[in-house]
Amino acid sequence: MKPFLDRVAAFCRGKSVWVLHYDCGSCNGCDIEVMASLTPLYDAERFGVLLVGSPRQADVLLVTGTVNHRNRLVLRSLYDQMAPPKAVVAVGACALTGGIFHDSYNVLDGADRVVPVTVYVPGCPPKPERILDGILQAAAVLAAGGDGSGGDHMAGAGGPAAGGGGGRGGRVAAGGDHGAPGGA
């Protein structure tokens, strides 16, 4: 009985994706494309994607924008307020690596320095279709029993330790692993 119920829940997780969108210091470009993905031409609700206001109700945290030092704490707080299983989708060059702002004094180069990112959606801004792709990839991870928080060894990364030190101007060598280069 229990394995069956777990399978049902996993199936539902893949079909019902509630997204919390947080603009972590974006120029609005990605944000309005996130909003646009809800509108008739793209209609994210086809896939059970719903934008919610409260982190407690969300399955996916969608981050746009450069993560700056003030927003870093907010992002971490929102992530911590979500119930597992949860996933993070980073949208746009700024949220991925800091983009054009990567070497600013107030910008962390990438949301993955603060929270473990499940899916990266590149673009400046990405088209709504790509954003949908990203959310659905995250949903697939959740449905497969994955949890973006797995291997989250960054609890507390919102603290001063995560100062935007590394990765200045140089190549982004590290990727894949959820651990931040130079984070924890």
């Binding site: 919390l20 947080y22 603009d23 972590c24 210091g25 974006s26 120029c27 609005n28 470009g29 990605c30 944000d31 309005i32 494309e33 909003m35 646009a36 509108t39 008739p40 031409l41 934008l51 919610v52 206001g53 982190p55 924008g65 450069t66 700056n68 003030r70 927003n71 907010v74 929102l78 983009g99 054009i100 702002f101 070497d103 600013s104 004094y105 107030n106 910008v107 400046c124 801004p125 088209k127």
Partner: protein, 362 residues
């Protein structure tokens, strides 16, 4: 005992598109006071502009704000062109007007949709944003990106449009104009929207001027102030009459923006024949770096007057780039308007100045 509630409104709040924080003091459901706090979108853009060379800065400043990116790059380019003494080809000026007005239309559409959402009118939001997609598709077609068109260069525009492209612009404009009818009608005639907005955040013309308000907030009090009257880019050749309203409240601001969408469409109608008639260059190559000096440009953003100030000391890097954004100018008016309103009206009220935090904090 505490009968006042203290509400942390934002930075993460569904009615805020961008992160700002407002500490609201509420009694019952009436807002007594508001203390805003900023710094969630500050990216150090102006400092960064001293690190990048002046050509790269075009791409940097258009990322000040993704909604009116073209107008930011236009303001920057105008300032630099003045500094460099570059004469922009007339065709480029017209193209700049075209993309600028397309941005204005999509920005106002976006705002209309957000307003509809803020008063809980989901279907109208959907309808408005659906219409907005036409402009975005047109952006992609003419410039290669839906949002950040990156078409402005110091010395002109990056691309030219051929006759076929102009036809497609015109066709889109036709469709957009006819689609706008029902949406505009609903915004103007719906009793519920009027009930929510009439009298909301009313300020007089004197107050608006005293608080330094700009753009639709100012025009909604009856003051015919519009930087496009300065005649930058191609506006000098076109008829621009500021859209004004007398009400001074959120509803008047809505009417101003509705009028401005029509106005922008009319401007495009003026520009397209000129573009057809006058072929020519769109970009003059600029090979030298600016010498020491300073320049200032004023352009009209969808939210009001945008000012770029550039100071150079010679060389590739600029000494200072300063951006005065319209939302920054409108914030005192907002803080003045919020107290005394129902908490349920706060989103619509905040939205009524069309705040752009990423512009303001840079």
């Amino acid at each position: 005992m505490a009968e006042r509630m203290v509400i942390p409104f934002g930075p993460q709040h569904p009615s805020l598109v961008e992160p700002i924080h407002m500490q609201l003091e509420v009694e019952g459901d009436t807002v007594l006071g508001v203390r805003p706090a900023f710094g969630f979108v500050h990216r150090g853009l102006e400092k960064l502009a001293e690190k990048r060379d002046w050509r790269q800065n075009v791409y940097l400043v258009e990322r000040t704000c993704g909604i009116c990116s073209f107008i930011h790059s236009l303001g920057y380019c105008l300032a630099l062109e003045e500094l460099l003494g570059v004469e922009v080809p007339p065709r480029a000026d017209l193209l700049r007007v075209m993309w600028g007005e397309l941005h204005r239309i999509q920005s106002h559409y976006l705002w209309l949709g957000l307003l509809a959402d803020a008063v809980g009118f989901e279907s109208l939001f959907m309808q408005t944003w659906r219409n907005r997609e036409r402009v975005l598709d047109l952006n992609e077609l003419t410039a290669g990106n839906r949002i950040v068109v990156s078409m402005c260069r110091v010395g002109g525009t990056a691309r030219d449009l051929d006759a076929e492209m102009l036809d497609r612009v015109e066709a889109t404009l036709d469709a957009a104009e006819s689609e706008f009818g029902p949406v505009e009608h609903t915004f103007r005639e719906d009793g519920g929207i009027a009930r929510r907005l009439v009298g909301l955040g009313r300020i007089t013309r004197e107050e608006a001027l005293g608080l330094g308000a700009v753009g639709p907030v100012l025009r909604a009090t009856g003051e015919a102030s519009d930087s496009r009257l300065l005649g930058y880019a191609g506006y000098g050749r076109l008829q621009v009459a500021p859209v004004t309203q007398a009400g001074g409240d959120a509803y008047a601001r809505l009417l101003v923006r509705l009028g401005e969408i029509r106005q922008s469409m009319a401007l495009l109608r003026q520009v397209l024949p000129l573009l057809r008639q006058e072929p020519g260059e769109t970009l003059v190559p600029v090979r030298k770096d600016p010498t020491a000096g300073e320049a200032l440009s004023r352009v009209e953003q969808p939210r009001g007057e945008l000012i770029y100030y550039v100071r150079a000391t010679g060389g590739k890097l600029l000494d200072r780039v300063r951006i005065r954004t319209p939302t920054f100018a409108n914030l005192p008016a907002l803080v003045h308007m919020v107290p005394g309103n129902e908490i349920g009206q706060v989103p619509a009220l905040v939205l009524s100045i069309d705040p752009c935090v990423s512009c303001t904090e840079r």
